[in-house]
Amino acid sequence: MQAKRRLVKGNEAIALGAVAGGCDAFFGYPITPQNEVPEILSSEMPRHGRVFLQAESEVASINMVYGAAAAGLRAMTSSSSPGISLMMEGMSYIAGAELPCLVVNVMRGGPGLGSIAASQADYFQAVKGGGHGDYRCIVLAPWNVEEMYAFPGIAFDMADRYRNPAMILADGVLGQMMEPACIPSEPPAASHPEKPWAANGRNGRSHKNVANSLVIDPHELRDHNRKLQAKYQQMQAECKWDTRLADDAEIIVVAYGITARIAFSACKLARKRGIKAGLFRPITLYPFPAKPLLETAANAKSLLVVELSSGQMVEDVRLTINGKQPVAFYGEMGGVIPSPAEVCERIVEAAQ
């Protein structure tokens, strides 16, 4: 259990974090820039007596996850943007059937085949549902390698608690970069809550269990949807966020994932130029930390949202701020990463 500080790649951290988080079964299909995740798990999972299987497609991966999750196991898959698009049908079924699972998206540039460079252009897909029907996923956004290691376990716990799919929304930089991190050489024993609803063979149970998202009667389906919506409301209490230099900030920079790292550096540069800039970092993108953002921004004059997209999370920030302060936006697309100096210039502009 000794946690030695060493250089760890983001994707390696996800893989080891999944093992530590009690993942029982991994199903996946190769796609750049997340390939280290299945590569490492192909040996780590069997080493711990767990299941690893390379599926024939992302469509099959997510449906294997569906089967394993229905049977009561902690199941996950990992992919990148185009592969995640293929999984959307399965995610919708898993959400409809109220099954817990973990999906990792190491985002790359889009639309279409796009690029293999880092992007945050899948925010809408991740936090607004993504597949068909009214559903939401729990979405966690790590910003460093240590969080890449810690979040699979947190995501599994939240997924189990709400019987809902959870997603870790990372990006190509976080997946591919190495930085020092403390990762135990052997995973701790993860908790596995009872799952009396699992379709795993009756084995003396008085009733059958069925994992299902088909509710043919409109009134019953409405009630099922109301139950899901109530669950999503209940999740709001579990939103997570982080603030840096925000207490006296006149301008709040809102960013998540790798962009938040750059934005934090930019805030420090801005402070050297006499602008009191602070960072607000949503950690759960869904549930979005709206109330904490409102409180953090209460005394700020303005906000700036920075994303590797054309402007997606900025919509949730504007909905939250609701016109109380101006909300500026700076985004780069296609895998272009802004430098701290470039973000700093935008902070200076927005602060004027």
């Binding site: 299941v51 469509v59 991966s61 449906n63 569906y66 089967g67 049977a71 795993n200 059958k208 299902n212």
Partner: protein
């Protein structure tokens, strides 16, 4: 293999001989199937298998999308409702995690041979230790009688109204023949559900397919050629004749692979 007759042959409290009854693996829910459809027969045979091999406590079935989408209502064991065509992937997820469970899929020809062909072939190629009960009626029944990849040449459907034209949509896909080339397959058989004799044959094939999984042999599939009188536009009797006269010529019955004794 005589345990299914366990209760028939016993006596009721009134002293009557019990000669026939519903398998314990089946619920009391009345079938929703159309007149002349053989899903009910095939469901019953599945129920018989679960009883016969005493699998109720450790079975996880996977339902398709199609006419049998409500299959979970008719059985008393645990089930997972898959999305269209993905049942073999879902079953793989269950079986890999719980290898001591009996895991089967129940799929129609649209589900298995059209949208789910990739999942079918790859589960077979991996030698996934699951059992597939496949219903081939050559048409999309639930959605209103559209052409399936298994529709016969010249067959009139709502999307091939002048009859299936091979120049336009190719030839019927023969699933057993297609899967025969894969080394992971342990058992493959096809049988028309067109007579009591054939139903008995189907029962025999299904027994073999179940045994394959219980003995860890690998992927097993039984294809039941079934009538769809409503979407074929025939009486139930004519639909049975159509199977025996036309369908079996394109889809010849028999065992294609049997590795039970390997």
């Amino acid at each position: 293999m005589s345990t299914i007759i366990e209760r028939p042959g016993t006596q009721t409290p009134e002293g009557l001989n019990c000669v026939f009854e519903k398998p314990r693996a089946m619920s009391d829910k009345p079938f929703h199937y159309c007149p002349g459809c053989s899903h009910g027969t095939y469901h019953r045979l599945v129920g018989e298998m679960i009883d016969e091999f005493d699998l109720m406590s450790r079975t996880v079935g996977v339902c398709p999308v199609g006419c049998a989408v409500f299959a979970y209502e008719y059985f008393e064991f645990d089930m997972v409702e898959a999305s269209h065509g993905r049942a073999p992937a879902v079953a793989t997820g269950v079986k890999r995690c719980l290898p001591d469970r009996f895991v089967f899929t129940y799929q129609g020809d649209g589900d298995l041979a059209s949208i789910g062909m990739a999942e079918t072939i790859h589960a077979a190629a991996r030698g996934e230790n699951i059992t597939v009960f496949f219903v081939n009626n050559g048409i999309f029944g639930m959605t209103g009688g559209q052409m399936a990849p298994t529709s016969l040449i010249g067959q009139k459907t709502t999307t091939s109204q002048a009859g299936r034209d091979p120049m336009l949509t190719g030839q019927p896909i023969k699933v057993c023949e297609l899967l025969s080339s894969l080394d992971g397959v342990a058992y493959l058989a096809r049988v028309p559900l067109s007579s009591p004799k054939n139903i008995k044959t189907c029962r025999k094939y299904m027994r073999n397919a179940v045994r394959c999984q219980l003995e860890g042999k690998g992927f097993a599939l039984v294809e039941a050629l079934s009538p769809c009188p409503v979407q074929w536009g025939m009486t139930p009797g004519d639909a049975i004749d159509y199977i025996d006269e036309k369908v079996v010529k394109v889809f010849p019955p028999g065992e294609f692979i049997n590795k039970l004794n390997d």
